[in-house]
């Protein structure tokens, strides 16, 4: 009898004990879909790494702000030589790493040597190969010498791939990240969450929240439940179909913004029939972007007409280059010799937008006689088949790197787009530092891609944040991969 009573008591405790710990004033739990495989942003491409670490644990010489602009980071100031080949950075003085060691120019040199080393596993190593030399002039000054001028150098060194690490701790950053950021790593319960804590010796403004938990929840339905039950305070990316749950709920705020992700119908320009411009134009005419955007993102995304983010200052609206026109599409197909249409495969990676876009596009292309066979693949297989071996007809994927129009200049890239004029244009663009000139060149590049209909340009992925009411300081847009915590605070 006693044991039953004990059992009952413990069961009651279990059921009614501490329920959800509601957010206190300086504490937050944020849900993100993917768990990073490791926590070193300089040794892996996964966006999930940047979500946790970028500008929270680690910082670079520059940092990208919420509007995409380049701001001073660990470098308080810099000068650029007239030929655009030499950059001299003045470093901040009062910076310490989370392990207490001080930050100086040697750390900068170490970081870039590590990126450029032969056995480097930095995913974006090619971006930094423009660097010829990194010289320490004094503990607070570093000089970078470039092989050629680069219009995007300051942006690139502000990316997660180039955050500054210390030689003493770099090796362990995958599991025990030591950076200079406003938040220090506390613990990582694998499969569950990462906990960060405000770093009291941070050089900059003291962030309002003392503690942040990043919880990994992959399943949308589960995420909705967790938000509704008050177990998490927000997420940077809620599946579009579920936004309505929160849109009219006074306990939540929905923040829709842009990202750097252009969703394209990647087309293998190397092979028939896609090597034929008319076929690509016909396909472009057959895409009903509005229906697609409504269907996939419930209207939360912006259409694009070329490979360029709409929120970028250099953006040109080219969505009407090949407007939705089935008649025109059929005519073009006929002109190309495909009166009866053709069949093609569409390889889709395991992300919701790709799988759903694929289904809708297949239905749209069916109208002009193009039969798409949908092949769903996992990322590993996608990387091998599509990206590495170019063994595909069509695919749908989001290119999430900021300002990545340059990928079209590589004829060996998986699109197989080989245009000498475009290559020259991009080369000029890369070495141009003057803003107005850069704008002209970028606009021209967008136009070429749109007219050549290299890929089907679908839409810009939206950032669809859902946050508990009363939370402030979130980034509405996502000009760079990351979830920056420094400005978050609870109102009152």
């Amino acid at each position: 009898m006693r044991s039953i009573a004990t059992l009952l008591v413990s069961a009651t405790l279990l059921l009614t004990g501490v329920t959800a710990v509601f957010a206190q004033a300086d504490d937050i739990t944020i849900a993100v879909a993917l768990e990073p495989p490791a926590l070193d942003p300089t040794a892996g491409a996964a966006e999930a790494i940047d979500i946790v670490t970028y500008q929270n644990i680690f910082e670079g010489l520059t940092r990208i702000d919420r509007d995409g602009s380049v701001q001073p980071g660990l470098a308080s100031d810099w000068t650029i030589s007239d030929d655009g080949l030499s950059y001299v950075f003045s470093l901040r003085e009062d910076v310490v790493f989370h392990d207490g060691s001080t930050f100086d120019a040697d750390d900068v040199a170490f970081t870039f040597e590590r990126i450029l080393a032969d056995d480097s596993t930095n995913a974006q190593k090619s971006l930094y190969e423009v660097i010829e030399a990194v010289e320490v002039e004094d503990p607070q000054t570093v000089r970078f010498t470039l092989a050629q001028p680069s219009g995007r150098f300051l942006f690139d060194i502000g990316r997660g791939d180039a955050v500054i690490v210390a030689s003493e701790s770099a090796e362990n950053n995958a599991t025990l990240p030591i950076g200079t950021g406003p938040y220090a790593f506390v613990q990582w319960d694998r499969g569950s969450r990462v906990i960060l804590e405000r770093f009291d010796s941070y050089w900059g403004d003291r962030p309002p929240l003392a503690r942040a938990t990043i919880q990994f929840i992959g399943d949308t339905a589960t995420l909705i439940n967790a938000l509704l039950a008050g177990e998490v305070d927000g997420t940077n990316n809620m599946a579009a179909e579920a936004l309505e749950v929160f849109a009219n709920n006074p306990e939540f705020q929905v923040l829709v913004g842009t990202t750097e992700g252009e969703v394209v119908l990647a087309t293998n320009n190397r092979i028939e029939p896609f090597s034929d411009l008319k076929v690509r134009q016909a396909m472009a005419h057959a895409i009903d972007r509005d229906a697609l955007i409504e269907g996939v993102t419930y209207g939360y995304s912006a259409p694009i007409g070329s490979h360029f983010a709409p929120h970028h200052p250099f953006y040109v609206d080219l969505t009407q280059t090949y407007p939705y026109d089935l008649e025109r599409a059929r005519t073009l197909l006929a002109e190309a010799g495909y009166e009866d249409g053709f069949s093609a495969t569409l390889k889709l990676p395991p992300v919701g937008y790709a799988r759903q876009s694929g289904q809708i596009l297949a239905s749209q292309f069916a109208e002009i006689g193009i039969t798409l066979e949908l092949i769903n693949v996992e990322w590993a297989q996608w990387l091998e088949d599509v990206l590495t071996n170019h063994d595909y007809d069509l695919s749908i994927v989001a290119h999430v790197e900021p300002f990545d129009i340059g990928i079209y200049a590589d004829p060996d890239y998986y699109f197989g787009y080989d245009n000498a004029d475009f290559r020259e244009l991009i080369e000029t663009l890369n070495t141009t530092t003057d803003d107005a000139e850069r704008r002209t060149l970028a606009e021209e590049a967008q136009r070429i891609l749109a007219e050549d209909a290299v890929n089907g340009y679908l839409f810009e992925l939206a950032q669809t944040g859902v946050w508990r009411a009363g939370l402030e300081g979130m980034w509405q847009d996502s000009p760079i991969e990351g979830l920056v915590l420094r400005d978050l605070r609870w109102s009152e």
Binding site: A221, I224, V245, N376, V377, E378
Partner: protein
């Protein structure tokens, strides 16, 4: 006892049959094509044009349920055929030859049982890519030991019967005895097990589809419909309830039919009702 006097068998068999007919019908006709996507018509409630409304892509739910049932049935049925096609001969060999053959069959089936089914299913779909075919293979492999055991058990119960010795006396070898006497006498058992594995297969397909490794769009299955509707559960619970309830009813129907068949076929269980009745 006559079949129609067994109410749960009648209910189960009738429901299973209805599902099967509806599923087969989808091969030649559905109210709307299931690949026809019309975003403008999404999330419609039940109406005359769409009896069960439309889903998040504006597809007709009735058509989807029909086709989804077909896929679920098909996957489970082929997996059962694989399991029975390999498992039954293995079981017969084990019971018919005993000795080393039996030892080997038992070890192999123990071995398959020891693998966590879903992990193997995931490995298989990773090897060959996700899709219905690989779901079939994965589920089918786990049906093999089940059928092997049922067959062996049934055949071992038949083997000591005098008519088997009579057949041996008549010059039949082990193979001939297995085919002529053992197999026909355990056919009922195998069919019962097939019904039960069919219902388990449907659940397994749903599970695989849930982790994204089962049926792939634009095709659909009941499990995939459930997965698609999950994130919409709060906004449009109907989209989850329809395939969910369809799975529950279908699985129950198959189980009832299988249990009923077992009652009807197994004279041992039947005679329990008149236990001690003959003395």
């Amino acid at each position: 006892m006559k079949a129609w006097q067994h109410p749960s068998f009648v209910v189960g068999a009738a429901l299973s049959l209805i599902f099967a007919i509806v599923a087969m019908l989808s091969l030649v006709w559905t109210p709307y094509p299931i690949t026809e996507i019309d975003i403008g018509r999404r999330f419609l409630g039940p109406s005359e044009a769409h009896w069960l409304g439309t889903d998040h892509l504006g597809r007709d739910m009735v058509s989807l349920i029909m086709r989804g049932t077909l896929t679920s049935f098909f996957v489970a049925a082929i997996a059962v055929l694989i399991g029975a096609g390999i498992g039954v001969p293995l079981g017969l060999v084990a019971a018919g030859f005993r000795g080393r053959a039996e030892w080997a069959v038992l070890r192999v089936s123990d071995f398959i049982f020891a693998f966590p089914a879903l992990i193997v299913a995931i490995l298989i779909t990773t090897l060959f890519g996700p899709g219905a075919v690989n779901a079939i293979i994965a589920i089918g492999i786990f049906n093999i030991p089940v059928f092997a055991r049922v067959t062996r058990g049934g055949a071992l119960a038949i083997r000591p019967m005098a008519f088997v010795s009579a057949a041996r006396l008549a010059g039949l070898d082990n193979w001939q005895i297995a085919l002529r006497h053992l197999l026909p006498n355990i056919a009922g058992l195998v069919i019962v097990q097939a019904t039960i594995q069919l219902s388990l297969g449907i659940l397994a397909e749903a599970g695989l589809s849930y982790v994204g490794l089962g049926t792939q769009p634009p095709d659909t299955s009941l499990g995939l419909m459930l997965r698609d509707a999950q994130a919409l559960f709060i906004l449009h619970p109907f989209l989850s309830l329809v395939p969910g309830i369809a799975i529950v009813i279908l699985v129950i129907a198959l189980n009832l039919a299988g249990d009923g068949m077992r009652d009807l076929l197994d004279p041992r269980l039947r005679s329990q009702d008149t236990r001690n009745g003959v003395a």
